[in-house]
């Protein structure tokens, strides 16, 4: 910490708790508590139960979770592949070309995701590219939305990579493709897994574009949560939200384990 005096350190802690707790931690806590409640009329919830979670094991919820996981997995892997490929390609370009590619990949971040959803809906609503009402269009939308983040983190990692590795490999007789697979990608592995984790988390929580596109047989978890709270089933919605949070965190945790192993080497 940058503060060295004792009083200063206390002050920083107090500010931290005053800001962090209400803004970041409290909402999560409320959701957690609400997911066990049957009514919440006063200051505190009452009628604690596991019923909401039992409910979730029946009905559409398990399928929604699976849908979300599959969507996020496919979208983040696709985004990672596309983003890495684009970042490697952009690295070989001159400065102006690289700026064009950078701008291109900023687009899905700059454009509201509702607009991205709508544009995909319009673009793929006619043959030969008729994707409306398929799971593919949902996954495509997620991929488009998260690729920007994958591109950016890989591009940033590439500029930090010392060219001496690549050059040493080349002078030892390694062709460019061999250098890519045996040197560059392994050295980028920590950044790649970080990017994949970020993309996965973003996709797990995506709602606005998904709302425009999802077919009845491919309903991701955020849409189910929205539906539940919209119906007024607040506590069921809270339980679903906890499941979404927990499963996302679980996957991120697993990814960070891989990352630690990769950077330890």
């Amino acid at each position: 910490m940058l503060v060295h005096s004792r009083g200063g350190r206390w002050a920083v802690w107090i500010v931290f708790f005053a800001l962090f707790l209400p803004v970041f931690a409290l909402p999560f806590l409320v959701i957690m508590v609400a997911s066990f409640a049957t009514s919440w009329s006063g200051a505190f919830p009452s009628g604690m139960t596991l019923g909401h979670y039992q409910e979730l094991t029946k009905g559409d919820s398990p399928h929604a979770l699976l849908t979300s996981l599959v969507t996020a997995l496919v979208a983040s892997l696709a985004a990672l592949a596309i983003g890495t490929w684009a970042a490697l390609g952009a690295e070989a370009l001159r400065r102006r070309g690289r700026r064009v590619v950078d701008a291109l990949f900023m687009l899905p971040v700059a454009v509201p995701s509702v607009v991205v959803g709508l544009s995909l809906l319009v673009a793929f609503s006619k043959p030969p590219l008729l994707l409306n009402g398929t799971s593919t269009i949902v996954i495509t939308a997620h991929t488009v939305l998260v690729t920007a983040f994958a591109y950016q983190s890989v591009a940033a990692a590439l500029t930090r990579l010392d060219p001496a590795y690549e050059q040493s490999a080349a002078s030892l007789g390694a062709r460019p493709s061999y250098v890519l697979w045996r040197v560059k990608l392994p050295l980028l592995l920590p950044s790649l897994t970080a990017a994949a984790g970020l993309c996965f988390a973003l996709s797990m929580g995506e709602l606005s574009a998904t709302m425009m596109l999802y077919p009845p047989n491919w309903v991701p978890l955020p849409v189910t949560i929205f539906g539940a709270t919209d119906r007024g089933a607040l506590f069921t919605g809270a339980a679903l939200a906890v499941v979404l949070m927990a499963s996302t965190l679980l996957v991120l945790f697993a990814v960070s384990r891989i990352r630690n192993r990769a950077s330890y080497r």
Partner: protein, 348 residues
């Protein structure tokens, strides 16, 4: 295999960092590329390795024009300043890298890896990762990795600059031994340390300001430098502006007997004498001045003497009573220890 630079020019934008370099490294020769920072040494090396494309000229390796060849088809070993060992591979995998990339059969790879590790004394560390090694050990692995592909040409870019002074002199001896084991490998050795160059090299190429200033055997450059730059950079020589008069020269009001070597009388020239060949006290070719500074260097004293606005450095055996600052002293040197640089060949 030899290396030849044929009028190689390298530019970054408008900035010429290598100006029409002509240099030949004979097969099996150790050539040191010596020069101050920014003089273009690394650039010359990168031109051989293929990491920069010359704006003009050709690079030949073993008589073959490689100017247009990509780095991975040049068949050279290279060790860069920071070693660039692959951090995700063990020592043995690092050393095997070039062999695997060249699709050498498996059995041969193991054999050659252990041979390269043996030559560099790193067998015991084969299973370690680079970050588990000291700087000197990493340096050995980098050399082993470059040698494993049995290159005809070895490029070393300031390989010892990251090591401390003691380790450096040990590694210098190791490099000399390695070269005796591999007499056919030509070595181009970049350094800005004249001791490394003088110790290791068969010949030294002195570079300054993107140009080759001088090239010759260490003894040649040290005893008979051809330019002021070489004289001062290699061995830190004293340089005095003099005028030639017959078979002697005049410095200020003093006449000095030095070998004139056919420089026309009346011409301006530069007199060059090494500090350790300058004696303190009266003698032949004596010059008088005041002591400006005295540095104690253990076995020697370096005495700086101001003479008519010029400074002469004299390295003398440790003195019991070093002269006081401002004291009037005389310095002298023997006729045969002086070299006269004509104005025509002086550094321009």
């Amino acid at each position: 295999m030899g290396i030849r630079f044929d009028s190689v020019t390298v530019r970054y934008g408008d900035n010429t960092v290598l100006d029409s370099l002509d240099l030949t490294v004979e097969p099996g020769e150790v050539m040191a590329l010596l020069g101050p920072s920014g003089s273009g040494k690394t650039t010359a090396l990168r031109a051989v390795a293929g990491f920069v494309t010359p704006a003009a000229g050709r690079v030949l390796i073993g008589g073959r024009d490689v100017t247009a060849l990509p780095p991975h088809r040049r068949g050279i070993g290279m060790v860069v300043q920071q070693y660039a060992l692959f951090p995700h591979l063990r020592v043995e995998q690092n050393v095997a890298f070039g062999l695997k990339a060249r699709k050498v059969p498996r059995a041969r790879i193991a054999e050659r890896v252990s041979e390269a590790l043996r030559m560099t004394g790193m067998e015991r560390y084969a299973r370690r990762y680079p970050r588990e090694l000291s700087g000197g050990q990493q340096q050995r692995v980098a050399i082993a990795r470059a040698l494993a592909i049995r290159p005809g040409v070895l490029l070393l870019d300031e390989p010892l600059s990251a090591l401390d002074a003691q380790l450096r002199s040990g590694m210098l001896a190791e490099l000399a031994r390695l070269h005796r084991e591999l007499p056919d490998v030509s070595i181009l050795y970049v350094t800005h340390d004249q001791i490394e160059a003088l110790t290791l090299a068969d010949r030294i190429a002195v570079m300054d300001k993107a140009r080759l200033q001088d090239c010759g055997t260490p003894q040649d450059l040290y005893r008979r430098p051809r330019t002021e730059f070489t004289a001062s950079f290699v061995g830190n020589a004293n340089l005095l502006p003099v005028t030639v008069i017959g078979d002697a020269v005049r410095f200020g009001g003093t006449e000095l007997k030095v070998p004139v070597d056919g420089i026309a009388p009346g011409a301006a020239a530069t007199l060059c004498v090494r500090p350790h060949l300058v004696g303190l006290g009266e003698g032949p070719n004596a010059l008088r001045g005041t002591v400006a500074e005295v540095q104690w260097r253990g076995a020697t004293h370096r005495v700086f003497v101001d003479i008519d606005g010029h400074q002469i450095k004299a390295d003398v055996r440790e003195l019991r009573t070093p002269p006081a600052l401002g004291q009037q002293v005389a310095v002298h040197f023997a006729t045969q220890d002086a070299v006269l640089l004509g104005a025509g060949v002086a550094d321009g």
